[in-house]
Symmetry: C2
Subunit: 143 residues, 2 copies
């Protein structure tokens, strides 16, 4: 088994507000949308799940583009998920759009980075793609 | 297809720091651990993934316990995940421990709530259990 165990403690803060903490005290907050009885003070767990996917693959993509000496000045990702109508309301389709901004950014470097993340490195993606069909696209904005 | 689409936009903030936003501007932050080159200003995507699971199942459990008129004064969840050694370093085992504090909290109500979440309602759990073996336990602290 891997030595790299992860641990989080999540505490109820009233209504549907929750605060999770890692062992170093770094936090992430959750709430429910108003239509589900929440106060909407933080993203919901299912919204944050999409964000985890975006964060995980972006760690890979930024790492790989750095190694490939790409000159990146801006980067963002739009991620959208469609859910099942019946419980459990899992994601059935997820679209990830990467936008990379910089000087002489190579199309091949970007494609390779996205593909390596999808096929090999992204742990969140490897788990979610068992349920959701994940598709990717990208845009390069040359400066 | 479900009408309940979710969307997040994640922006690179330098090094391995990222900020994700939902359409209402509610945010969640990510960073990498120092040993992976990060600044450790926020939980990592894989830590936050465990938190999403804890938040999602806790929404169910708190909802169900409320409906069952249970008098809950405190509630927290400890969640721990073991990962594969090789990439993708997915979770292979996840343990969730629920702690419920209150007056005359019913063991059966708690067990039923946890089971309904696991079997039927928890969307994050339904996705992660395709890869990880998820086990649950609970403790009731009577006041």
């Amino acid at each position: 088994m891997s030595a790299d165990k992860k641990k989080m403690t999540l505490e109820w803060k009233g209504n549907f507000r929750f605060e999770a903490k890692n062992p170093n005290g770094l936090t992430v907050n959750f709430d429910a949308p108003k239509k589900y009885g929440g106060d909407e003070t933080a993203p919901s767990p299912m919204e944050t799940l999409l964000a985890c996917l975006a964060g995980c693959t972006s760690y890979d993509v930024i790492s790989i583009l750095k190694k490939k000496r790409q000159n990146i000045s801006g980067y963002w990702v739009e991620v959208e998920g469609e859910r099942r109508d019946e419980p459990p309301e899992v994601y059935t389709k997820i679209q990830i759009k990467y936008v990379i901004k910089g000087k002489n950014v190579g199309k091949e470097a970007v494609e390779k980075a996205i593909q390596l993340s999808y096929d090999k490195y992204c742990s969140v993606g490897a788990m979610l793609k068992k349920t959701a069909e994940i598709t990717t696209s990208y845009e390069i904005i040359q400066e």
